[in-house]
Symmetry: C2
Subunit: 419 residues, 2 copies
């Protein structure tokens, strides 16, 4: 497994101008979204670039929950700019867009589908050298600063998919907890649920030595290798932080400690799932996001409807872990205990229900919408949701328990209402 | 912080020929020591090289506890061979020698002292590109497969020192627990003590935000950054494994689980201390090894006297942690608890004594020699031992508590007898 460089500390963003000087960058592409372009994290970066006299162009057209079209716009900007380094300041949407821009600007003759995950795209391996990319996360969620993954919504197919390659992993992640202070409540909550699911899914993913086929040549093995003794360390550690600090981080913007801990947990969980992978909550979330109708979440300063990624993964989590627990019940029970369940008298065969109940209680306490119905879906949508999950086999096959289409239907149905 | 690639699993060594093919290697340098050249780990590598038709030359002249002269011999071999990849199969002695050979063969006009740590050498930054190096550890100790460090004994000065640069970190570490099965009892013990001290020292090292000077340009910051929230995860995790499995691994070569866990713990602790650093046990160990008189440890199949590295660090550990505990007593107490102490009624001000006692008991149970006296030192040697510690400021300054020469004298004196 491989792990990116990260630098952690309050205020470390002020060094970014120096990092770019050290990289010998002469023309930098700074990416962010419209909302963030007015906020302290982007300001801190601009100040440092100015201080060190870094020549740059800013692109603030990143779409929150990016699409193929919004990726292509950013790629076009990158191609024109002939940049020699990239800086992404934002949540997963910005970091992922910047990874794609760097990739396709470095491989200008490639077709967009070339690097998109199979079976939707061609899933070609990346062999061109990319430019350095410094990621500055401003949510405590995706861990994208540590992963070689970029996710987008494929509009035509109404399904989310992505690009996965070690080559697009950021050169450096700058984890500066000051940036989390400007996040409104629901963004802390939803991005925090993403951390929660990264940790739970990677800890319960199919073990690395049970994955099949296991390509005999190491170079052909996927980035998502299944759970393993190293990703377990990160997943459990992130889960413990989520259990202790997520509620505090959501409830009070003044709780610097809680927000800082969640910012680190996001990177920890990213290192975990970036090596082990995620499974059903993520696989099923992609159509939940992709098929969005009119849902507009609170606190998201955007003009299109969307189901935020973290919400789209967490809403199915009670059903998913009730379903998967029969494979590693002891891990499910351990996770429930970390999240606050009293398991002293628990029976191992109830592990799934216990974890599901613990998650439901956790979500209820945090005022999370009551299931898929609350974000606009009804029973009639289930076939489309299932259909959108089927091409996500890159992740769904990492589920410890294999699933039929009927299983997926049942999981969506069980997620319509939570409480 | 940066972490190397590692691959873990029983039997994964058989893939090494493929890895070298993937790297396009046409002439490989295989390094090991005389003893290992007859044992299963080297055999497994040779089989894979043969299977994939890899062209290689073998160097089995590595010295156990290398010296400047033994490094130079290996460097000469590497320069002559014009290799395009390196494979190191062995303990820290082999991996470190191979790192040095790769470095100087890639920088053929450099003087040997150029890259050696200041103030003994010039401590120049490495700017030349190195060849890929695959490290296959056969002890469960140094974690050298994950670090940018190579240690040797500078004969003229009678002191150990080293080379520290991210550039010499192996490209890939292959952690195959099968290789630990051939280790005799004292090699398991001594290399395990190294893991123990890497974990304890990096967990109690000066925190990263208290280090001074802290060079304002990130590129000038040392590899050893002080303890930090990320290295803490690795250190604690490694310490828990040591507490649970080291005794079992030492007592029974048949206990595959315990030996496998220790093999992973060694890499975990390596990632921890490779970023956080070590402090007094290591700083003081270098003269303890360097000034060796006639001590010949059991189970080491070599013809020169030596104090094995792990033994040289652990013998001072009770005294060291009794000394440092006043700075982070709660961490010292936590470590004692992990190692088995009952701390329910402990007073925080006794943290140092409690950890020291716990370590003494741990060592006594494992038949460790009774202090520095048992490896050949007496009070009369203390001035020389102190003198040999002074140039180790790269690590000693990471001690949470600053130390005078008198303090060092007292620490050596307190380590003469343990029980
Ligand atoms: N690459 C990966 O490894 C990975 C992993 C999980 C999710 N994702 C993807 O990442 C995207 C979601 O990213 P996200 O959850 O980080 O949110 P986001 O990037 O979509 O941002 C959500 C909203 O929060 C705002 N915002 C972000 N930081 C803020 C701050 N500090 N203060 C105020 N407002 C702030 C943004 O402007 C935006 O309106 C999805 O597309 C998802 O699929 C990627
Ligand atoms: N680079 C680093 O980060 C780092 C860290 C700590 C220590 N070190 C250095 O590493 C050296 C010590 O390394 P070590 O403790 O791994 O031991 P080692 O490499 O010195 O080997 C010790 C003995 O064990 C034998 N041996 C090794 N593996 C065996 C196996 N599987 N079966 C049977 N015999 C085996 C060797 O042949 C040798 O005789 C010291 O020079 C020390 O200073 C380096
Ligand atoms: Fe996610
Ligand atoms: Fe060591």
């Amino acid at each position: 497994m491989a792990i990116s460089n990260i630098r952690y500390g309050q205020g470390v963003t002020k060094e970014i101008g120096m990092d770019l000087q050290n990289l010998g960058a002469r023309k930098v592409c700074l990416m962010t979204d419209k909302n963030l372009s007015q906020l302290p994290p982007v300001n801190a970066v601009l100040n440092s670039l100015a201080k060190y006299g870094i020549n740059f162009q800013m692109y603030d057209n990143v779409r929150v929950e990016p699409t193929d079209q919004s990726f292509l716009d950013a790629i076009q900007f990158a191609k024109k700019g002939e940049f020699d380094a990239y800086v992404a300041v934002g949540g997963g949407s910005v970091m992922d867009t910047c990874k794609a821009a760097n990739l396709y600007a470095s491989s200008p003759t490639s077709d967009f589908l070339d690097y998109v995950n199979a079976p939707i795209g061609k899933g070609k391996p990346v062999t061109v050298p990319l430019k350095p990319l410094i990621a500055v996360p401003t949510t405590a969620g995706t861990g994208s600063e540590t992963t070689g993954v970029a996710i987008f919504d494929f509009k035509e197919l109404k399904v989310k998919t992505g690009i996965a390659s070690r080559a697009i992993k950021p050169t450096l992640g700058i984890i500066d907890p000051l940036h989390t202070l400007s996040m409104p409540e629901r963004i802390v909550a939803n991005s925090g649920f993403d951390v929660l699911c990264h940790a739970l899914e990677s800890y319960t993913a199919l073990p690395y030595n049970m994955r099949s086929p296991c390509p005999s040549n190491p170079i052909n093995r996927p980035a998502y290798q299944g759970s393993n003794p190293i990703s377990d360390v990160w997943a459990l550690h992130a889960l413990r932080i989520v259990a202790k600090y997520l509620k505090r981080a959501i409830r009070s913007p003044e709780d610097h400690e809680a927000r800082a801990k969640m910012h680190l947990a996001s990177a920890f969980a990213g290192i975990g799932f970036g090596n082990a992978g995620v499974h059903l909550c993520h696989g099923m979330s992609y159509p939940i996001s992709g098929l969005v109708k009119t849902y507009k979440p609170k606190d998201y300063n955007v003009d299109h409807s969307l189901v935020p990624h973290g919400l789209s993964v967490v809403l199915t989590s009670p059903a998913v872990f009730a379903f998967t627990a029969q494979i590693h019940p002891e891990r499910h029970l351990e996770a429930a205990e970390i999240l606050g369940a009293d398991i002293r008298t628990a029976r191992i065969k109830d592990a799934g229900f216990i974890l599901a109940d613990t998650l439901r209680k956790f979500l209820f306490d945090l005022n999370v919408d009551d299931g898929l119905a609350a974000v606009g879906y009804s029973k009639a949508d289930i076939p489309a949701l299932v259909k959108g999950t089927l091409p996500q086999e890159r992740v769904t096959k990492l589920s410890p328990r294999p699933q039929t289409e009927e299983d997926l239907s049942a999981l969506f149905e069980a997620s319509m209402k939570l409480y």
